[in-house]
Structure formats: structure tokens, C-alpha cells
Symmetry: C2
Subunit: 316 residues, 2 copies
């Protein structure tokens, strides 16, 4: 198997993670977490959402968060945007990327935003115009791209159609969301190869939730299909309140740990990311599901065992 030398890991915990947590963090707490993620070296962080505060009270302080985080030059700080009003708010805050979202299944889209897919896509046109006028990067999520909790299987042609609509809108990237952890590696391989062939110039990213434990397995399939952009949420924060049975995104530190062990560079400082994961755990006041957060890095295991042995031998 051949592996890419480098991939981009997008940290989406401050948005996709926090929007699904019962506990609402203060603006101050969110800023601490995002600053810790910037310190960890991510090149892209999705920091908040400009959906209606009534729908997602967890992220009602989007403006305040964006005003107070310490932005490192070169890092792309993005925000989720549902419509023209959201785009105006986001642009007023100086976001670096606007991310649109629409479900690949009609039923999920209606449940999520009370619109048909066609209505969602039509509503994106003025957003794309605003982003273009402002010179701000535009991207789009395909939600439930690997299966819908209401409809079950989602036809690949439906995903392809939506990616095509995004391409026509002029997006720089499309992120395929496995919102309720329904993807499997064979499906990831098929869909990604199809889309890469159909849209060779479009950046494709993968966004897996770890609901059934297969998120990193799906990443392996994605790597083999040539995808080099992956999302994670620090600590494994979150889920999706609109999708029954959903659990959090794959923990970013588990993803980065696996990639580094494979010899794939991410530019992320894993120790600092683990510090951010411990901070996230402390802020949420509950144990987060990340594995490396509990077990430590592979290299730490060896070091701690060797230290214990040395201590024992010194005693003996």
C-alpha cells in the first residue's frame, strides 16, 4: 500500500463537537480551547457556527468567539453558515472560510433545516456571491453522505449531484460527512474514487464520526483512495443533536497519532494537541471518548515502562 507523505487534519471540535454537547461552554472557555488548538499547530480550525442561536444555543456567541481568539497568521479559521444572514454575520467577523451544509438525503435535510435539498442549494447562491465578493474561501459539507438515519442507504449519484452543485457554486472544498457513523471502508473507497474521478480539481475532505468504532478504518480507506483532508474533534467531543444515535467525531488526537505512527506528516504537535484534549475534558467536566487521551502515545507507553523498570532496578 502507498500512503501520502502528508495530510491536512482539520480540527472541527469547537463547532461540530461543542454544538452537540449538553454543557454550554462560556465564551472565555471556548477561546481558551481554540487558542490551545492554534498552539497545537492546526492549519485549519472550524471555530463556530452562524446558524440561528435558537437552533444551536451552544454556539450563540459566534461573534464574541471570533473577536477574542488569538489568530495565528496562515491558519484558516472557518465557520458554518446556513444562509445569507449567517454569511453576513460571519464575514463581518472576518472568518477565513465559510462552510455551507446540505444533507444528501431529503428527509435528513428537512429535519435539519426544514428545506428541500433544492431549496438549500438555491439559498447558497447569494452566500457564494458574498464570499466571492469578500475574497473569502467557500466550502460545503455533504451531510449524511454515507447513509441517512431516516432513509438508510444514500445513492452515490445523489452525493455526486450535490458535490456537482457545490462545484458549480465555486467552492474550494467539499467535506463528506458521516454524520451518524454509518460509513464502512469499502463504501468510502468506492465513493471517494468515484468523486475524485468526476471532480479531479476539487478538494475533497472526509468527516467521520466514530459511532460504530470504524472511523479510523474509514480513514485508511480514504488514504488509499487518495483523500488527503480529514476532520476530527479534539477529545472526540460532540455528535449531532439532529441525528438520532450519533456520537462524536473521531478524536483528532487518535487520528493524528495513527497518521504519525504511519509516517504521515500532519504539521500538528501531538503533545500540544493532547494538552488541548485534556483541557477540553476539564472544560466539559466529563470523560471524553478519545483513546490516546487515556492510553497515552505508543512512545509514551514504552518510555513509562522503561522508567518504571529503571526505578525498580535502582531499588533492587
Amino acid at each position: 500500500m502507498d500512503w501520502p507523505a502528508q495530510v491536512t487534519v482539520r480540527e472541527v471540535g469547537p463547532r461540530d463537537g461543542l454544538q452537540a454537547e449538553a454543557r454550554i461552554l462560556s465564551t472565555e472557555e471556548k477561546v481558551r480551547l481554540i487558542d490551545a488548538l492554534t498552539e497545537a499547530g492546526f492549519g485549519r480550525i472550524e471555530v463556530t457556527s452562524f446558524v440561528h442561536p435558537g437552533a444551536v444555543p451552544q454556539l450563540a456567541d459566534a461573534e464574541a468567539v471570533l473577536a477574542r481568539i488569538r489568530r495565528r497568521p496562515g491558519v484558516i479559521y472557518s465557520a458554518l453558515v446556513p444562509n445569507r444572514r449567517g454569511a453576513e454575520r460571519a464575514l463581518a467577523c472576518g472568518v477565513d472560510e465559510i462552510s455551507l451544509f446540505v444533507s444528501a438525503s431529503e428527509t435528513h435535510n428537512r429535519h435539519n433545516v426544514r428545506r428541500s435539498i433544492a431549496e438549500s442549494l438555491a439559498g447558497f447562491v447569494p452566500v457564494a456571491e458574498l464570499a466571492a465578493a469578500a475574497g473569502v474561501r467557500l466550502s460545503g459539507y455533504v451531510v449524511t453522505a454515507f447513509g441517512c438515519p431516516y432513509e438508510g442507504d444514500v445513492p452515490e449519484e445523489q452525493v455526486e449531484r450535490i458535490v456537482g452543485a457545490y462545484r458549480d457554486l465555486g467552492v474550494a472544498a467539499v467535506y463528506l460527512g458521516d454524520t451518524t457513523g454509518m460509513a464502512n471502508p469499502a463504501q468510502v473507497d468506492r465513493l471517494c474514487r468515484l468523486l475524485k474521478q468526476r471532480f479531479p480539481d476539487l478538494e475533497l475532505g472526509l468527516h467521520f464520526h466514530n459511532t460504530r468504532g470504524a472511523a479510523l478504518a474509514n480513514v485508511v480507506a480514504g488514504l488509499q483512495a487518495g483523500i488527503t483532508v480529514y476532520d476530527g474533534a479534539v477529545g472526540g467531543l460532540g455528535g449531532c443533536p439532529y441525528a438520532p444515535g450519533a456520537t462524536g467525531n473521531v478524536a483528532t488526537e487518535d487520528l493524528v497519532h495513527m497518521l504519525h505512527e504511519m509516517g504521515i506528516a500532519t504539521g500538528v504537535d501531538l503533545d500540544r494537541l493532547l494538552a488541548a484534549a485534556r483541557l477540553a475534558q476539564e472544560l466539559m467536566g466529563r470523560e471524553l471518548p478519545g483513546f490516546v487521551l487515556k492510553a497515552g502515545k505508543r512512545s509514551d507507553l514504552v518510555r513509562s515502562v522503561q522508567a518504571r523498570q529503571a526505578a525498580r532496578e535502582a531499588e533492587g
Copy 2:
């Protein structure tokens, strides 16, 4: 990517899982669990261990367990065996397979069995003779094949050397153990391809622990390298008390769920396996780490959501 049409999943929870649990099940409880696993359709179940009862009190009732389980014809019921004495006990119980074990790292082997690797291998010769005389299948584990908590990286040549020693003993299969969850998919791919090329006629199996969340990712790499035998422990039971930082094997039902979703047959009835996992959870009296145990199958998610919707529409 091409995938095998079918793979063999070995259930090792009654041995590798239970030996690492603090709570010791009664013989009656173990028999219930193993019978439930037989009902789930496994073709191979590792049921117990004939190591010294002082070393593993959890499995001190090996004879009683083997005497009382309901054996389905055709199923291979195997047991772990450390030496000649263990082999005699196992053969007296009519086991279908004897599994030897030696670590790929000297330090781990000394910690585990207080012998050098050479001493372990020499001790296997009379066991192999006993097994051959009895016409019983013989196999061998390479423990810490993907990394050692004491020594760190384990050279591939060292694993190759031990697999070669097993081959010379006449084993039918070698199981590569990732005892403390140190494997990564790139490494799995490299090592498996090397060993398959070197030992084309030997059955190779993979035994992953999910310590750092990458067990199913490693399975994907194994599938691509042509490996068709995988271990799991029902519910994600267990770990390894001799390996610091270890957690349980990958949950068998998570493995089977992923394989079935990929269109790969296992012969296992996933619903019955999930019933066995719930039984294991009840018997252990704690939440087990399996994902599908909590989230349910992908298909259940859709069905339960559709049922709730239908109920709501009927009300409305």
C-alpha cells in the same frame, strides 16, 4: 480496493478477554458465555488457557469449562498452552486446537513466562510432538509482534524468525498479536506482506487490541494484505495483565459489523453475537467498550428512526 469475499473471525474473549478481567466468572457463567458464542455461529472459539492457575486464576477451571460447554460439530474449540504439562491437560480435555505463545521481544517474553525466546521455542518441541501424535491442530501466537512496551519497536526479522520457528514445528497457523495496541496500518501492511511472501503456505491471523482506537484500521490494512483470519473478544472484554497500558481486544461484534457492512461474509450471526455481548456485559457487571453494543447496528438505527417517525405520524 479489492476485498476478500469471506474471512474467518476467531472469538477469543473467553480466553484473552477473561484472563485480563479483575472479576472472575464462575464455571457456569463461562459456559453460558461460550455456549452463546457457539450459538452465534463462530467456527473457532478460544475457550480457555492451560497456563498455571496461579498465574491466571481467572481461567483455573479450564478442565471444567471444556467438560461442560456444548460443542457444536465442526467448530474448533482451542486453548492456550504454555508447555508440555499444559498440553497434556488440554489434550485430556479433547481440545480441537492447541495454541502456543511466545513474545517477539526478549524482555516481554521474560516478563511473561520467565524464559528467553530460545527457551520458549525449545519447550514447544514436545508439545508439537504430543499434538501431532493426538492429531490435534497446533498454532502459535507471536505476542508483541507490532511493538513491545518494554523495548519499543520490534524488528520485522525477529517476527519472521519466530514465525519460521513455528513453521518448523509444524503449526497450522500463526496469530500475530498486537498485545498493547501499538500497531499501525502501514506497519501491518508491511509486516503481513513480508510474512505472506516468506511463508505462503502458512495461515496467518491478526489479533489486535484497541488500545489506541486503531484496531479496525489495522484490520483494513490486513484485508488489503490478503490476511483472512482475525481475532476479537466479545464486547471488547479484557486486555493483558502482563502488558502495562493494555486494553481489550477489538470487540468482535464491531469487527463483524464492519466486515458485514463491507459485504465480507463471516458466517457469524451478528444479532446472536450482540446477545452474547450483552450477556458478557451482564456477567462482568460493567459497561464493556464495544461500540455497536451501545450504538446498535447501522440497520437498526434506520429501523428505529423509521418506527419513531411512523408513530409520530400516526399520532399527528
